[in-house]
Symmetry: D2
Subunit: 307 residues, 4 copies
């Protein structure tokens, strides 16, 4: 046979599961999009079409829903760990499971002031509005012996309206850009961070708190860095995470430079004193890097944060 | 000539303008997407291609940016009023201007605790994260004598995890749906509301406060209505606005019923006690209506809230 | 009660139905996205939540699938007519049905040259590739006595690389645009056309042939008009349809002017002789109009072709 | 310093360039979306913000447009080779350039029959309609000595309405799926293929012909494979390419199993004889694999074909 099979994986993608937990009248919600990807002894299904080793993707979907009941959803990471362990340990031909999860945040709708015409305000504990900011992400990979957990986020749009410059760059025959000493710096963060938890014997990180703190440090580094280039700001965002979160060894960012161009108002006899900007769509600068704890190995794939 | 020209309009759509206002070190941001649409004596450009009455769409774009400097952006509504008035009063062939605006909300990034390695926390007053929830909308129409202002929002996703039933409906030969006595009710609100401000001599509404209060009342009505049908909840949302906001005479909603189906876990020996749901994409119920102050005329086009 | 109910409608949107018809080994495919919208005596469900007059949206979904079997899908228009008639005539409280349909075109995969290792080429009559060009649209409305059929398309992207000019326009203080004597003209057509078939006693148009011919005439008018403005081209597109298709009385277009800006290559010592263009995203001109058969009334809503 | 910089790259993404070539009255069009990504000695810009080694992303944009004039666009691959070579050889700090290109196909609008009222049909050689099917892709990487060219496509939707089965799979406690002996098989192809051209001394493939033939073989393999699983069909698609195109050594696919579920019409007293299907959105099976020429090494990243 002149062709052979290389890396392969399969599963059910984008299982949308919503879990309601009732604490008396107070409800809690977890809203996930779960994708399962399995690999192992799968040559035959590719070569001959024999499904003898294939757990159907429909079954992996059912398992997601069943596990939401059996284990609950404490965090996306913990839920992914339950799933990955199950597939690898319960099916001999499956050697590796990768669970990817998107999580959508919700916040409570605030009750109205005491209003006798309606249900009592203090009873409104089952009503939510989707927060709508970033999408939280995690990817759990298990091969039967060790774990890799890479969490992150996408679509978090941030802007500094000052404290950003760009000058002193290389100029070649195609360079027309003017140097800038006060510009808007804006980006839509796509970031991933890898935990150093790899073994069931290690103490597991507190996934919810870790996410909240990592996002906070990242945002603060973005806000507090006086920027001479988006690369510098990006590096500070990653370094601030590594410095403050001992459970994380590696960070990867893809940061589009969402250009805000100062509009030339001089033809209309107006001076634009860094006030009026045109927010451009395309093209955009795209700045990407891995930031590592010294001594650690890079393992987040370069294409994982792809836009 | 066997064909004639009917309603027509033209302009530049989706002008993305960001306005930064500096109050000392504290910056404020307005982030709009402005679409201009003009009509009037425009037969010739359609029949012969003569542009003698045509103000170029490029000029309408320039005007948006120039006005952001000349008038500032107090609110999307006020900005649209400046633009609409300008086009109708400055160009004789233009008899009507319609300005549509989308607004994206931003919130400040909270500074880190005093941290001597970085810029002082109290100086972080120019850093923002996009709120990312609903998109605020407005549409201003001016014909030289009277105003129509229709504001609203889209993409506001809400959910009640209980207090919703659906039963007692018509059953025909194609009906298979089981009645539900405790279901999730979720929707993605697309709503518009029309102000009764139509004349320069009337006192203008406080647009920012009106938006904030209207959204609040709408959300509370959603949360506080014990629902026997999405139609009933929708009507309450509109009525609550009309009841509480005297500046608004008409509300129009398009509410997709974002189905959350209870997953059947019995095949796995599990009981699903209103805990685990599958969030479906398509098809979805689509519930639409106009709610009016009694005695007022409906003017919001049925297709305006289209998904 | 200070508020009243205005126009309202409900139904199941975006029912994705694929119908395979087998003519021996040769299969045929119809791929539709069907949205049902019903209105009538629906006050109570809004006011009190009583569903006594409400045929569930789930039932309307079931009806779509059942009718695909019972009637087949000869054309989107014919299918919509079956559905609309059914809802209005079978349920007393329903007075009006509007069926919107999107149709996706497929073409056959051409068989390989006789290749003994595979199934015979002449047997490949069940394999399709999605054409992927425009989405065909129709909207059928029935009130129990008369029909309105508005068909059309969206997302058809066209370009003339010459034979387009733009000059002689109004210049005000915000005008900076240079006149153009040879420019690219490109747009993404969103169009609708209304048939004059309104009564069961009239001979029904041949919907498939009508669509094919209407699209052809529209494309040819776009190609063959020497353009002094997009308005002029748009009018010709509509007029060509009215002139050639007696079953159509009214056309409505929303045409974004997809700007292709000539790139200034002079800084690099190069001359751009109408060769290299930057295809911009936003903002874009937006040109909209209704073109009517003389003597006919305009009935397509202005917002129907909204982008 | 506790953190270090790992892999990093930067450049301007999504430069939309349209090139018109005039062959007398006959025009030709190339419509590309070009993304530049550079890496090399870039530590300082991350650590200190010094841009001394940074060619601005704006300059890389200018270069794309200038090269469209200087070299023309013979094919996306050839254009990417010009760009990658330029960046690596002209800037000492840049050691590696990766050019990603999307290409959109256009076809000519057919002229109307001789029609004296319009421009002569034979003159319509500058009018195009976007084909709208798949998006063609290529990625060129150059490190100063050797080339890697990975081409491919995305968003090509295909369907077999029969000749697909799925049975004989593993059943565990979460398995409820019924075996299928005649089902629809549909997918939206995301594929990449790697050329064995790596050296300027080798004869370069004919990129346009290679693409056309590769797509043809892939489609025919999809159509002509009697399928017992999507994995089997996918493998045949890759193997057919490797067998027929000696310039290609490796193929990678990500194939969503676009489920078409047979609708249960029995509640309505109807028999669904493989006629009426519900086209589901999410979740979907996701089947991915690399297919290699025997003896060759896999180099296409697993995440490159990500949906």
């Amino acid at each position: 046979m002149p062709t052979i099979l290389g890396q392969n994986q399969y599963g059910k993608a984008e299982n949308r599961v919503v879990k309601i937990t009732r604490d008396g009248a107070t409800h809690h919600i977890k809203d996930l999009n779960v994708s399962v990807s399995l690999s192992g002894d799968m040559e035959e299904v590719h070569y001959s079409g024999s499904n003898a080793n294939v757990l159907p993707t429909d079954t992996t979907k059912n398992t997601v829903y069943a596990f939401a009941k059996e284990y609950g959803i404490e965090s996306a990471e913990q839920f992914g760990i339950h799933l990955a362990r199950h597939f690898v340990t319960s099916q001999e031909p499956i050697h590796r499971a990768r669970i990817r999860i998107e999580e959508y945040a919700w916040e409570r709708i605030e009750a109205s002031d005491a209003n006798s015409r309606f249900i009592g305000a203090d009873e409104v504990k089952h009503s939510f509005v989707r927060k709508g900011q970033e999408t939280r992400l995690t990817q759990i990979t298990y091969d039967g012996s060790s774990w890799e957990v890479i969490s992150g986020l996408k679509d978090l749009v941030v802007m500094n309206s000052t404290n950003s410059e760009f000058w002193g760059y290389v100029k070649d025959k195609y360079t027309t850009l003017k140097e800038a000493y006060d510009r808007i710096l804006a980006t839509q963060v796509s970031g991933r961070w890898r935990f150093n938890w790899t073994d069931d014997d290690q103490r597991m990180p507190h996934w919810e708190k870790s996410y909240e703190q990592t996002k906070k440090h990242m945002l603060q580094a973005f806000a507090e860095t006086y920027s001479l280039s988006l690369q510098q700001t990006m590096y500070q965002m990653g370094a601030r995470i590594i410095d403050n979160r001992s459970e994380i060894d590696e960070v990867r960012f893809s940061l589009p430079n969402k250009h805000h161009f100062l509009v030339d108002l001089e033809p209309f006899g107006l001076k634009n004193d860094n006030e009026v900007y045109y927010a451009a769509d395309r093209p955009y600068g795209l700045i990407e890097a891995t930031i590592l704890r010294d001594g650690c190995e890079a393992r987040i794939p370069v294409d994982l944060t792809n836009l």
